[in-house]
Amino acid sequence: MSHFSILSIFRMVCLVLAWGIAYSAYPQNQQSKFEKLNPKSSGINFKNQLKEDRENNILRYEYFYNGGGVAVGDLNNDGLEDIFFTGNMVPNKLYKNLGKLKFEDITKTAGVQGKSSWTTGVSLADVNGDGLLDIYVCYSGKGPVETRKNELFINLGNFKFEEKASAYGLDDPSHSTQGLFFDFDRDGDLDLFLLNHNIQVINEMEFDAARTGKHPFAGDKLFRNDGGKFTDVTEQAGIKSFALGFGLSVNSSDVNQDGWPDILVTNDYIEQDYLYINQGDGTFKDELSSYFSHISHFSMGADIADLNNDGLQEIFTLDMLPEDNERQKLLYGPENYEQYDLMIRRGFHHQLMRNMLHLNQGEGQFSEIGQMAGISNTDWSWSALFFDGNNDGKKDLFITNGYYRDYTNRDFLKYKGDYYFKQAIVREKADTLHLVTSMTSTPVHNYYFQNQGNLSFQNLSNSAGFEEKNFSSGAAYADLDNDGDLDLVVNNLNQTADIFENQNSTGNWIKIRLKGPMNNTFGVGTSILAYAEDEIYFLEQQPVRGFQSSVSPVLHLGLGEIKKLDSLIITWPDQQIQTIFQTPINQTLDLSYNPNYSNKTQQNPQQQFLKSIPAPDFNPSSSTVNDFKRQPLMVTMPSHLGPVLASSDLNKDGFPEIFIGGNKGTPARIYTFKEDVWEVYRGFRSASEFSDGVAIFQDFNGDGFSDLFLGSGGYHDYLSEDESLRDRLFLNDGSGVLVPQSNFPKYLISTGTATVMDLNQDGFPDLFVGGKIIPGKYPESPSSKTLINDGKGNFSDQSSEFLPNAKLGMLTGSAAQDLNGDGVEDLILVGEWMSPKALIWENGKLVERSQDYFPSNLSGWWNTLKQADLDGDGDLDLILGNFGLNSQLKASDQYPLNLYANDFDQNGSIDPIIECYLGDGMYPFASRDELLDQMVSMRSKFTDYASYSKAKISDLFSPDELKKAQKLSIHTLESIVLVNNGKGFTPKSLPRIAQSFPVYAISVLDINQDGIMDLILGGNQSLARIKIGRMDASQGLVLLGSETGEFTPLSSSQSGIEIKGDIKSILEFRQDDKTFLIFGINQKPTAVYQVK
């Protein structure tokens, strides 16, 4: 192994390791603790005070309450971090660090107070390459061009500065948010990305026009440093400079690990964020929509960092969704599917209002897991900073938030307008400014989340020292007192800025001060991989993070109990590599550019287990059916269920036939897979009215040829008992032609599952058919069926004989298995809003004995069930796919999800009301508009949003009404394995990443041929309420089994599966000695992979 490929090998090791590490248990965490300094003691009394008057107010400038920024850096190279604050309307302040957390205001002598115009963000960077940090301050507001020219304070040493923006060509008069200095062309000096915003409201009619061309002041700009003079290269570099840009933060990182710094720009409002991938030739390409399947809507601050210590950086963007019930209820209006569709049709990406955490899976593949990580709802949030706050080796998260006026309060929209005519009635003049400034103001506390490992964060805001409610904006971290942990500096609105001293006392650390090559003296763009024992740590040098702010350029790593670093691998911005072995810790390391490895970074292609091969030409028409128009309070749409898959060699020619199920509008098809080519199979026809819920190939008439049972499911516009819900039997005529059987029993239920079993012990395959849903009457379930086969394929409905209770719930999965060892198959059932059921065959009847076999509290949103002997002990274990943990819905024993259903208002429609845990207790899930749209009687009960914002389910209904209602509950949303212990089943959670999406399909296969069964999971649900949003974190997940029964997840770049879409089925089939997997994807062509 030659040493030049050390990095690539290392990265490969990291990747494989990290996905394992990420899910292993971390040692007990050191509790983070910060303490706010008294301004009197610290000397920092900067206050970003706003003055609202006729000239200066939110109506004249809509970013009036966005707040100021913070920049921290050692400006005089004395080893102490100094602090700079921007004030929107007050002068900026520069504080010299005197040591011991004492600071001195030296703004005046330094001459950096700035202009009296509206001041926004600040960045520190050594722009002229003299080894001293310079200060770049941005301006915006309604003032004339001259007042908005950004300022560059060149550091002359000893806290003397000279404003030289014009000389450098950086006195740009845009409405700027912040500047980000980085070396995009890797020529050794710092270039500037200038983030700007519009100050005009853009009407939707103008969207298209506002997304073309270049706006002189609103559009973002890129400036190339040409020997100390900056040249505007925006257009030639491919940077969008649209009027629609409402840029609120900019970050830079090598997102795709190609050695070139990329750019993330977050945009407020309708314009989506940009992820500019550096093409390496001086240009960028916005590839956001291929990297992220959905993004935050009103994106604000952002940060990029490696959160699971796998060497790959996660991307996190902030939005404005509150954590608690009350503020959510005041915020949510009606869900508008037409407006959402219009947004998509007009070329905007899927945007949803909450923080988004994009987990980096390598090779440009990301999965959004913010909700599962527990960091999605932090109210109106400005700055996000990932840093190791407790020196345990994992990066924690600090978020500032708060907006000075509750404009998004729905009551404001709906009822504040009354002011105008009420004023007219009392004959007084209406004053809009008065209206606006009389709006309520709700301070909120900042958030501190401690990284628990395993892609999960714990909210420690209160115990870590951030319980105070206020309005905070820019923030930065730095080790202000040089004690080895990072402190926080926060700029507040209308309140003195805060310094939070990190009280951490344990945990090892290392700080690294980079001395970069050429004019990039602080090594911006450098990445550092630290390697210690089994752990890896990753950092990238880019001080501009969070919001309008700039963190210390001294890099900090918490190391926990790690005693020494085995090696540090430094990749400088020019991609030259420097390695240092046996680095001492608990000290600051000064690291000068001195590469000792060549820059060969080509990666060895990873060994992937699956290879994509051509798929059948099955191309279903996309369906616009919106089930929420029929039952507005459902969570997901039951219409979009397929395609189901089944395989058999129908004509016994040695080539497999694959059945691909239809959905209303797209009839089912059968294909033959012949020598890697897909051919449409001629011996089958299906009508397009059906939605196939189940497909089973089985020789029902004993002639040696496979017949086909099709269970019709779906919802659509079907009647509650619709002809299109008829299940169908096709018998094989012996030549491979499937002939429909008109004598098959007719029962009109929307079928969710079916299982072949010999119910009457006569040796012929009978059918259990499980009902799922009654169209229009969710969550009522139809009667399930037992159909008895006379051996010739003639079935008779003998449900009353075998099923004493046929209403079994909204069934989605079933399996026949002898549970009590009497030699007769029993029946296992799962479904939505129910516990797994065991129906035991007793004297010719299926009798429910669930509690004998399944632990209690396993009620879930079960989508699928798979049998397999996972532990090789000879009995069948079960794998159950659930709704997952990555959504706004949470469920536990203490706080289950409850669903109350009844026709409460007696108007002929079922009212399904979900109650769920929201922040601090159990509340109705529906927003006020949704509830009022469902039930007229609620309109006079909750006449405004405020009255509904505190309502419990008991405020909606009387105890008697609730008692009479059907009540369903969910206690767990985790996908699990049920290990067969001989007497019953023991649940075991699947790995964390398997909980990041709803699981709809499971395949069991020894994919790496180690003799142990592996799992392939498919899922996603993109047809959910807007409030839930697209659940699409899965690209098809492979879990490698082990002898201990634990599963190790593979990232998509490791497994080779990269499927975008809702996987509803996975089928394994073979041809000769080759094994294949076909994935059924809702409203899309199938995907086919060959197992290597």
Binding site: L59, N203, M205, E206, E338, L342, R405, A424, T624, S909
Partner: protein
Amino acid sequence: MKKITLSLLLILGLTGSIIAQKKALDWPKIYADQLFKITEVMVTDVASPPVAARIYAYTTLASYLAIQPSGTRFTKPDFLSATPIQADKFQASGSGVTNFEFPAIYAMLLVGEKVIPSGYLLKKAQEDWISWGLKNKIFQKKDLALYLTFAQDVADFVLEYAKKDGYIQLTALPRYSPKEGEGYWYPTPPAYMAPVEPEWRTMKTFFLRNLTDFDPKPMAPFDLDKGSSFQIQLEEVYTVTQNLTEEQKLIANFWDCNPFKVEFSGHMAIGVKKISPGGHWIGITGIAAQKANLNFAETAYIHALVGLTLHDAFVSCWKAKYDTDRIRPETAINQKVDQSWRPLLQTPPFPEYTSGHSVISTASAVVLTAYFGDNFSFLDTSELYFGLPERPFDSFLQASQEAAISRLYGGIHYRDAIENGVEQGDKIARYILQQTQF
């Protein structure tokens, strides 16, 4: 502000130490003022145009029903017999009640309380009304319970009827889904609100037996070929709206009657409110009643007749709207002609054909003309509280014609929706008048 001044003076006079004689009571004024309290709650609640008409129908119906047992003879024929309301019951009730004006208003407020979501806001108006009645010795204090019970009986009767008119069933029906294809309605900017009451056709009407009899003439089919009827009309909206005179702008705004116009500024959005088209015509009815010095019974009569007519006209119009599901000019022009064009008025959230204002204004005007006579001039002060000046009209039909064409100036309707809407409203009103043997 004349109206408010007068009203304040009146109330002050009435409640002063010198008890005014009953004859001095300006009943049409009092009636209109009390009904406006209901209007205020509707404005706050943002009752949509058809919903507002339903509320006016039941509240005015209550006051009219309450007056029945008084044995008053009306100058025009009773219209209840032409409706499914079985009003006979109230000929026999109300024994002991000698003054019917007081309970009639009270019943109106009681019905308002129940049929408007925020109806609880009328509690104050009810209390004030009782105090007013006691102070003015409209009845003897010991009889208060008797009066309130009678009013409650009337209200209960009306509410019982309202309960079965299909309103609570609406939420059991599927919500609107936009149709695929060109020329169909789609939610409009800026708020892209869901369409108002897509199943309003299922509501019970008072007079119209067979809704299809009142379907408007067919609209011009969607066709963008130059010279097609639709294209010409689309072009007309586009050009007319860019060459509006100040008077035309004033007309458009005067008849805007959009209960909820959303104004955006970044994250801030605020709903600016106005009375609905029905509210405007109820206002005109009150103005006319005052000008004609009607007594209370006649005031109640004409308000109820207009209220019930408004409801039927809205049901008929709303049926047409969702039968045709036609694209709004704003959507069509933005898609096909000029992306930056915006109408003067905010496009209301429902399909275009026919123009609701044209239908209901004409229907109201025809009924009012039949009652008050043609060339009945009046000064329309209905929009004073909503920031618009008073406006004189020579006749009801002049006003309704102006209301109709205002929709073209406002850029929210094509000409055929206006002209055929006028015809539709005329037909509805004539049918109602004919049914009531006016």
